[in-house]
Symmetry: C2
């Protein structure tokens, strides 16, 4: 019907609805306009049966409402829509307790690709369940764990965390900090483990004592209480490197509102992520930036690259980090 | 295969995978365990062709990374997963510019239900495109606009915004505020229009002058600059009622960091939403709470009620608001 009304072949209509098919832009526009007038849409379920493509990309996160996760999800959904995919959102738990159920369920939707954080879903578990999509893992190669399980075929986004962390410690040292604390994220998190490990190495390389470890879980409330405990029970430090921005906010508020200390004069604080909230004046946080646009584009290249070549060996993209200097160091 | 291994009928296996089918819990658990051992999953695309159900719920938001939106998305996704649905996420624009394209695209996935905010997607547009799912709109009945288009069949979550706003203004008046400003959200937003209208009426009922209107768009940066402009160019007010919490944060930071004013001593501030960040010590915001758990359960009842009875007349759920008193009024 659309083909007849637009005076083109049925193949052309099919191509017009596939963002990856080669077709002249004007021709696509004309066909889509006719289709819209006729209120025609290709049924994705029927199409999926024929093409084996669902046009769904699964994203697995433990907490959609975390500022970093939600900002990444927003950017990825926008980018995926522009390429003709929809985001299928799954929320897991960071204790791995619902992995099997969740992944079995996800498999039923036959996603074309799945983006997962290795710290939330174990690679071997994911590979066993997914039979077609090649998952994409976000990894931290600066500090690979020697004992970790060998991953089955998966694509990877490597995030180089060291450059930004080195800059952060150099800046705090330059402003006179000698004693450091590392405010951790969740204990199960590979990202926080890698960040802590890099902090310890960089301090050692610079002839500084190892950091005090303040326990955390990426949340504001835990960071707030743990910072109070550290300063009241164990004594003060010159500088706090937080595993994420939200934790840094909790530390800053504990220092200023309950401990009567000034940031940065008395204690220097650096975060990690550079979420939108980091520039809010109450915090004005110096932080290690993981560039969201760069990260989104790298993930998109992995998804499209894998769909073009399903049998390729593991694809890898690498992005780096850098320090954004605001007002919490000096 | 699963039926044979679990020694049950094929119908029982099908029921075990449908969260809404009646089946004994022990039997379901046993069948799902056998299915898991055999790595069996029902294909949702194939199943969708047979049952007409996709087990997908579309959620349309203009910005996934807004704290309120992301916190709602997190709660909804968790609740939907527990009922056997996956969240299909769509990001629209608040200027309506991609509605047609987006909705045509969404229709292809054949969602069982769609949750939309009327201020982002026009009801008539959505109804024209969706042929099966009955959309759910979030509405603000305190201040219905007489000239608005009559909605086609759709279910509705009514949010009563007036109770919380009345409490907020009474509290600020009780602490001595006489001149008020309303810090608006986006001009296209029905929620912000309704909030502003309620503020004007409540002030009038209490014999107070009408509020100064400070333009905003729900973002921190705009609220920050607009509050500076208001105080520097047009003069101060005793109290600011912000259309959302993030705007209230921007106003508070402008007052404290650039205008040298104290909150609440010099200016009282109240927000709207009660997002997680509202209790952060730097803000410790008194705000009108839209209870997220209550809202999620109401939306879920609408979705399940509609699926049970596709031809029912419009279903309506109603939730209310209340003031959460923290430290920004007195």
């Amino acid at each position: 019907m659309v083909a007849a009304a637009a005076n083109v072949s049925r193949v052309a209509v099919s191509r017009a609805f596939n963002p990856h098919a080669s077709i002249k832009p004007e021709k696509r526009d004309r066909i889509l306009k006719v289709a819209q007038e006729l209120n025609y849409t290709p049924d994705m379920a029927a199409r999926s049966m024929v093409t084996g493509r669902s046009h769904l990309v699964g994203i697995i996160v433990p907490d959609v409402s975390g500022p970093w996760e939600s900002q990444e999800l927003d950017a990825m959904t926008t980018a995926l829509q522009a390429e003709g995919f929809a985001t299928l959102l799954f929320r897991t738990r960071d204790d791995f307790s619902i992995d099997e159920t969740l992944l079995t369920y996800m498999k039923g939707f036959n996603p074309d690709s799945v983006i997962a954080y290795a710290e939330n879903v174990r690679p071997a578990t994911l590979a066993r369940v997914l039979d077609r999509a090649v998952p994409i893992y976000v990894g931290y190669p600066d500090e690979a764990e020697p004992g970790s399980e060998p991953a089955p075929l998966s694509d990877r986004l490597d995030v180089l965390q060291r450059p930004g962390i080195e800059q952060a410690i150099a800046l705090m040292q330059g402003y006179g900090a000698r004693s450091f604390a590392f405010l951790a994220g969740k204990t199960s998190s590979l990202a926080t483990a890698a960040r802590g490990s890099i902090v310890r190495r960089v301090l050692a390389e610079r002839g500084l004592p190892p950091p005090i470890e303040i326990p955390g879980d990426y949340t504001y409330d835990t960071a707030y209480r743990a910072t109070l405990d550290q300063f009241r029970i164990h004594g003060p430090v010159d500088a706090i490197f937080a595993a994420n921005d939200v934790g840094a906010f909790g530390a800053i508020d504990a220092l200023r509102t309950e401990l009567g200390l000034r940031v940065p004069e008395d204690v220097k604080v650096v975060g990690f992520d550079d979420i939108h909230q980091a520039h809010w004046k109450s915090y004005n946080l110096t932080t290690v930036r993981l560039d969201l646009a760069e990260r989104t584009q790298a993930l998109l290249r992995l998804i499209l690259g894998r769909l073009r070549n399903p049998t390729a060996p593991s694809l890898v993209e690498t992005i780096s980090t850098r320090l954004v200097v605001r007002g919490t160091v000096g």
